[in-house]
Symmetry: none
Amino acid sequence: MSIGVAIGKVSQASGVKVPTIRYYEQIGLLPVPPRTDGGRRSYDRKDMERLTFIRHSRELGFEIDEIKTLLKLQDQPEQSCERADGIAREHLVAVKAKIASLQALQHELERMVEGCSHGRVESCRVIEILADHGQCQYHGEAA
Amino acid sequence: MSIGVAIGKVSQASGVKVPTIRYYEQIGLLPVPPRTDGGRRSYDRKDMERLTFIRHSRELGFEIDEIKTLLKLQDQPEQSCERADGIAREHLVAVKAKIASLQALQHELERMVEGCSHGRVESCRVIEILADHGQCQYHGEAA
DNA sequence: CTTGCTCCTCTAGTCACTAGAGAATGTAGG
DNA sequence: CCTACATTCTCTAGTGACTAGAGGAGCAAG
């Protein structure tokens, strides 16, 4: 039985800011926690994991709605294998697409940085490529 | 002396939507253009180039403030391009980290989907993978 | 001269936060 | 036990980078 953890501690541990945690509660991404006698939110280890997961997923470019689905997938692994499979498959497709897009972006950025001879803006490859769309190989969308 | 181009044409040519062009003018990213007798914005070739530059930079994940810096650099070709190079380099680092993390997620999703197809209701480790700091290489902020 | 397109300004909405005000609660020192 | 200070509470409003819609005016073709 763990004693409840205050929002500040959870914030520090998860890397999610305090107001953001309250915001997540508000939009239903995080379960409503019990309160202390004084009316303060009291979290447990599971909430902490959930928050770290959320933060990480956000950093990877997932939208809140996608994270909700992903969390549901975690919450009911025994329910319907088919359904879980479908959700996982969908996300797999999205993740693969995201990786492909980011790799294209990576190559383009590498091309820019490598081509830059560190001289003057006049002959800077970075500026040049940005200005001329024809020189660019990147046409996807980034997360 | 070129005859002014209407906002719709510039939009089509640059791939930036009409309201977005007006928005860019509002925030000072695009110079205020002259108007026709009827009060319509009239652009020239330079504006078009600038817009293409902006769109391209946005697609590559640069923020408006960064684009402002890049545009200022472009306007002074004599200067060193160190700053432009730095901005691009920073992005490259962030993008690489993101790809690594997404690949970890991809493997985990693949593992889940495979487990399902074999009839096993495997416990989902998506959260474990994404929530555990130790397993993750990505600690930067999203582009 | 009317039809229909483009353009104008303006306000408000989106997403995912972030900042600040003003009040209450919790805690460590004296 | 009292004070000082940190933390938390709720609430409203602001941010970035757009996007959508209302209501009206300009313009080119038939």
